[in-house]
Symmetry: D2
Subunit: 361 residues, 4 copies
């Protein structure tokens, strides 16, 4: 049976390359005579019946554009959606409502672009009978099952550029500079940006750090005439036996490092221990924004095209991945709610150590 | 009397273009047969007698390099220098010591590159008999007497790039994004970056803001279908009747906005008042780093060359400026410890208002 | 009398910042309750009656966009327009037709953004009774009467980036690299990009070069251990007594340097004279493209706003300029068909010479 | 037997990431107590005995630097080297001389970074008894045996940026723009940059093009309201039955397309056939220059580290590759003088076709 009409939505946090996927899916579909319906603000548009046909012009000139023309939402989950009832918020399963909108719009399939949360939501909609193909996105590169995801290269480029920039300040002022890089559960971004910019110390969630060893590295560099140290700190990095620093931010705790995060902690402690002037910066949301790098545009285009190949073949319930250099797919249920962390024997870790980089352990 | 040997130093905070000035001064001098002595770490090198002859190769390939090859220090002041005496730190005038080193090295003149603090120090060394020419540097563009200083264009470019990046996140997620931009006393950087990136609200130290009006602007945008707002906040911006938010950071106060700064305050308050999801980021030191833009390289080269023209003519005690489009000079004493703020009738303010930008007033 | 409706068009070659002017004009006008009509493809749209109302959304998100949303045309001239008559092309004055369309659309004024050709056309339409304000654009920075025009900083940045890039190749391979930069009649672009990137030789139309002296500079550098030379050549640069090389391209001549341009000539001759391997590249149209730099966005925004100030005041027949650091205006007739070349006593020329740059003279 | 001293050289054309490899090799070696000797200008330094010990400072701050600090040469080949004898140039095998210098310097092994020509030279030195490990470099990405090589991502980024820039000019002026991209034998660079920038037509050496079909694509776009076309043309692209256009440049032929190359040919013919204004630009050497992208720095660092792993293990005669996502090695003889072209069933080709891109066939 030939498909007539498909829907597309983007869920979760902003990620460079989302529009490149939307364009690839839509151009592929239009070329095959399939109508494409854009769904606004992720699952929220599916729940609230906000659908909007995409025309050829809507997907022109968006390849290089950051963000998503469809809007996104990282809260709405059809199987557990907050609804106001009797003056209180209660969590409800609104999948029936979603399927009603999906059928009313005459959709034969849905392409869902998002992270592990979005894929987890998709898995539950598939259970309810929807024909879904997933496209993973995460700047953190931590999607289980895929070696690489679009958005990551752009985020690495932004973080690496920031490390390059503070390098000149650090060397001119003989300071320790700590740069906090995104990545709560996986250290890919801090590791890749850190190695790409020659950071002297890289802290990642996978390797608990010892602040004394971090400080010792700064002192060791001073002794060989290097009067500054650059530290790339993944936001989820933690001390041996310690909690993640970002927990402290979210709690209304009286903890003195509240509002600080790992970069501020490391900077303060290193200055205290070594007496070397130290500064920290938190890169934050700029890592999610901006136009995708050419490589991310290629990957996003390849992912979008592959998603449509799955749609054409009727291979639903699968998510696109890249494994061993090849774009392929695996069942969506396999990736839901999982995280791919940096293995401790990863060649890049080994290379960095051989070049003198400290991981604070 | 022909000059034989000059010294050069860089003081104060890091600023893109410092190396371009060093290169211009050194190439000009070497071309005229004058030796150039680099002084390490600003006034500190002058005090501690750390001098190092610059050769042609030392100033090759540094035009595009951020930071300063000479190192800098933003604390040492020859007329009030912290010295350990009888187990305590006391402030001493060490200008005699500086002049001794200066004479021992056989220097006929000194080129001093720095901000208002460095120029203030230079003024006191001139009083003590030294032949000094000043070159101003500030990414904040707030040097009194000059319409523009190198480093500012690079900082505007970095801040503007960050605003462009958060724009895609803001529009995809329908958020208010507040970006904190450097500038404690003058709003040039926030104003220029904000207008260059089409920020919807710009907060600067020169215009006290009313948080209710900032929130109202966000709501007004929602009403006309714009589901996001970008706010460029100069770090020195304050509420009518309020203190600078950065004061709170430095105090050991129990104030709830401690560690927060203006961006966090504005973000929190706007979310509270409007219910629209809001986020803040603090750009920090990346605004001081990186390779200078071509424009900053041109300006720094022009300033360095002009400094040498003053040296050749024996016009000491003057600082290079650019006024009404022309590179010129004024007495160093005129600029010491002064700040050039954004005048309230500046054409760019007027233009921004006419285009719909709010200044929170 | 209050204005109700204005038109806007962009003429001549592509230039970064055109959309920023369109946005500034439109936002200012809309804020004052004035309707804005976009005219397509420069004067061609005026002649062919292709008008299109601009809405607020049309001018959103275009500040950072290169090119022009209105389209351009660098051929159509209302006072001398090629029309097919009796099987032949004849030049006709179609200003009556233009004025008919202008009146039919109910326009009270027209904002014309373009180069000297466009301003020359505007001057003739003013003669015919139209109310016009001009905004100058040229990446060449050669508009008579203005110290600077938007688009130039972006072009300098692109050309300077290319010079920086070939620098690494030149130094790795010990080559002479000649980079041809736009600028037929004025050398601003080659001069500014050349100085900003530390080019060793800069050739501009204003200074006739002697190829022997260019070659001698390359040899001199070899002797002091610099095994490469970077030459920035403005496309209009010529030998003493010679024609512009670009003439040769356009003629159907048997000249051996046909298709070559100045960069190829210089590269070939330098290799022949010195025996040092030489290469040339022609930057071409990339110098006109891409997103405007923040500085160009600021200048374009300032120019657009000032154009509307003139419109509001009814000061027609004037073109916006920036002189001595201030945005102002002068009569359009003053700038038509004139070119502002680099004066031979320009401080940047003098600075470059003092730093060792050769101009081939 | 522990190694005491190794040599390192870079051969062939400039490529971003060379310094990152040098740094990785040197830091790894120094960390293991091995001395590193830099050999100047590729095989030429080996022939002429120009060796220079590398110290820690020599390889600091070079990670982000384009070019090669060692210099390169793409002509000298030890087994066939041009020597002046009896007033004539004769090709001689100078491998004995090379081995003499190698032994005199006390080298235990040599790391050779270069393209297929350099690897071919290395294979012949291995035959003569030298212990060599190869690291491949090519911006063209056409090394046989490796899925990817460093330098390519940077070149794709530069070419893609140029395509993005001409996009605005093309759309503003309703033109056909043809951009010539490097790649004589393989189309990877044109393909990747073309897809990454959404080029409408991509011409590569692997797919002979029909100029009528290229022209037809431009006309087809006009009909659906797209008034411009972007063509990415690999320099080695040719017509069915035709010669490479670059041949014509090197021959002293009377051919009218002499000096033109493929871009000029396509531009001229498309304008002739369709009447649509067309322009061409040749990107040239800027594709080889500039700082490596973060991804290329990572790959180059990984390659350099892996080369040292081979050295440590005594696995000589091998060249580092990346295959199926993993860094590994294969015998150098396997890659010498071979080229990896784009397979006609490559997924990216298929994806591009499905999205509407024409390959002129």
């Amino acid at each position: 049976m030939a498909l007539k009409r498909i829907g597309i939505l983007t869920g979760g946090g902003d990620c460079p390359g989302l529009n490149a996927v939307i364009r690839a899916v839509a151009k592929n579909a239009m070329g095959a005579g399939i109508e494409v319906i854009g769904i606004e603000d992720g699952y929220l548009g599916l729940i609230e019946d906000r659908f909007c046909p995409l025309k050829r012009d809507d997907v022109s000139n968006i390849l290089t554009l950051g963000g998503t023309i469809l809007g996104s939402c990282n809260k709405a989950n059809p199987s557990s959606y907050a609804v106001r009832q009797d003056g209180k918020w209660v969590m409800k399963d609104v999948r029936d409502q979603v399927i009603k909108h999906y059928k009313k719009a005459g959709l034969d399939a849905l392409v869902v672009i998002g992270g592990d949360g979005t894929m987890s939501g998709a898995a539950k909609l598939i259970d309810a009978g929807m024909s879904i193909v997933g496209v993973p996105k995460t700047i953190d590169n931590d999607l289980w099952g895929s070696d690489v995801t679009f958005g990551h290269d752009t985020a690495v480029t932004t973080a690496s550029d920031a490390l390059d920039k503070v390098h000149t300040t650090a060397s001119s002022h003989h300071r320790v500079m700590v740069v906090e890089i995104m990545g709560r559960y996986a250290g890919w971004l801090a590791l890749n940006a850190g190695v790409a910019s020659g950071a002297d110390v890289i802290l990642i969630p996978e390797i608990a750090f010892d602040i004394e060893k971090v400080a010792a590295k700064c002192v060791e560099r001073s002794k060989i005439g290097k009067r500054f140290t650059i530290i790339a700190a993944g936001e989820g990095a933690k001390q041996a036996g310690g909690k993640m620093f970002i927990d402290h931010i979210n709690e209304a705790s009286p903890d003195p490092i509240r509002l600080g995060g790992v970069a501020k902690f490391v900077s303060d402690q290193v200055e205290k221990i070594t007496g070397i002037e130290s500064r920290s910066i938190v890169l934050g949301h700029i890592q999610r924004g901006g136009p995708p790098t050419p490589r991310d545009r290629l990957l996003a285009t390849g992912f979008g095209h592959h998603a449509m190949c799955l749609v054409h073949k009727g291979s639903f319930g699968r998510v696109v991945i890249k494994k061993n250099g090849v774009i392929d797919s695996i069942p969506i249920v396999d990736v839901a709610d999982k995280v791919r962390t940096v293995p401790l024997d990863h060649p890049m870790l080994e290379a960095a150590r051989a070049l003198g980089t400290s991981f604070g352990d």
